[in-house]
Symmetry: C2
Subunit: 282 residues, 2 copies
């Protein structure tokens, strides 16, 4: 199932071409996006995602349509979604820099699409992960803003290549590491560790995206009395933690059972508590 809406709220056929060949989104991956989970008609963390979209636009110096238009287009997609037969939808917001040589009008759209069965299986059964060098040092984000380390751009070819590398190594997913061997993020997720009743995730200042799902989990955990930490995390801590998860809108909080071919601690009771904390927000 796929539903597509323009920013004026018009529904269009997703099988009809939408972008010209000289759109800068096509030619240069020059645009930004967000992916939002909607459950039973309700988008999760919509405002946090729109905040991050605006932040990406600022970092990219991109003209972004008004927030109200995005909200309207999201509602349009959700209004068309067949909730009776599919309880969840991935809602993607995309904005490109518009046409090469054009007047700067961005190309923007919102799509809703089904979640894959494979994703559902991974949510239920957990995943294996490999750590791969991302080739950045932790001070680079501040030093070299042109590397766009904290913008969610359409230039995701490296993220996709890392996932193919994981597949070659018989793993499901990737956690990138920095040049000092500290943890960064997954290609489309944030990494979360539980250690003695404390949740930890690497800091955005290391050159990674602020996680909306990780953020939602941490707020819920704090309210429930957990300690949380946003701090540099050495790679070795993965194998000493009580549990490791990848968090993102669509995969929710997916448990990791294997890293670089070696088992890590899994505790089904702990996993259930973490998932309930996250779900308690909605």
């Amino acid at each position: 199932m796929r539903i597509l809406a323009l920013l004026d709220g018009t529904l269009v056929d997703p099988d009809t071409p939408l972008l010209r060949s000289h759109d800068l989104g096509v030619q240069r991956g020059d645009g930004i996006f967000e992916t939002i989970l909607a459950v039973d008609g309700h988008p999760r963390e919509l405002e946090a995602h729109l905040d991050r979209l605006e932040r990406s636009a600022r970092l990219m110096e991109l003209t972004l349509p008004d927030r109200a238009k995005w909200q309207h287009a999201v509602r349009t997609v959700l209004g068309e979604w067949p909730w009776g037969s599919e309880r969840e939808a991935a809602v993607k917001l995309v904005c490109t820099r518009g046409l090469d040589g054009g007047d700067g009008t961005p190309t923007a759209f919102v799509s809703g699409q089904s979640l894959s069965e494979e994703l559902m299986r991974k949510r239920a059964r957990g995943i294996s992960v490999v750590t791969l060098e991302r080739g950045i040092d932790p001070g680079m984000m501040e030093r070299a803003p042109w590397l766009l380390l904290s913008a969610k751009t359409l230039s995701y070819a490296v993220n996709m290549a890392a996932l193919r590398e994981a597949e070659r190594r018989d793993a499901d997913e990737v956690v990138f590491t920095a040049s000092d061997d500290s943890l960064l993020e997954g290609p489309t997720s944030n990494v979360v560790l539980a250690e003695d009743g404390r949740l930890a995730t690497p800091p955005p200042s290391s050159g990674i995206l602020r996680g909306t799902t990780q953020g939602a989990l941490f707020r819920a955990a704090e309210e429930a009395g957990w300690r949380t930490a946003v701090e540099p995390i050495a790679r070795e801590r993965l194998w000493r933690a009580d549990g490791v998860w990848l968090a993102s809108s669509i995969r929710k909080i997916t448990q990791v059972h294997t890293i670089d071919g070696t088992s890590v601690a899994t505790d089904s009771g702990l996993h259930e508590r973490i998932c309930k904390l996250y779900e308690s927000r909605y």
Copy 2:
């Protein structure tokens, strides 16, 4: 002027949308490209560009249409170009991974477009450049192939952001540097130095694209008795060289007159010799 052809040789209106919103080229910058200069009806270095396109496809594990189809689509575009009024065209070859959730059929097209007046001015008058850290060390390409350092992908958001950073610094162009302060490449060019009758450029093994225009220049220079070197180049050599150029298909061999706000040597006689060497290939 813009001419657009599909890989079956069909001409299509470039103002009609061509790509669906869920094309992986749009969603993930997941595709590859080449840009070729055509002069008076003739494409320059077509086979070298097709070689590099095939190399990019291998690195990206991308299904690429047959070489003969690309050649045919290029001929179709060149056949339509108004050579009487425009003597040069930029011919772009694009191939994406096709539709998200599709059968793997790539989306491929060839476009011809006019060169901008600004580019012509820069060719004639030379350019100012800033050096910007690229955040990679020279051994990374071999160590981390998933970073796609030697593939020419559609994920060019960082390259475009670097050019905006140059503009902020009142410069025209960028030369990226590695973590050891050696030279890499421009966002869409290779850097060439002349030093005592010898031409030098950084090695592809440092994580940069093999330059087709730089390669053409070096072959011509070698035949004319110049020494050439493909070797690591420390940033300081820019200011000791007899001349510095950025080379690419569309900009040809453009002279650099200023780097990081400081003048570098320019010699109009030397520049003319270099340009003639390059033109002697065609």
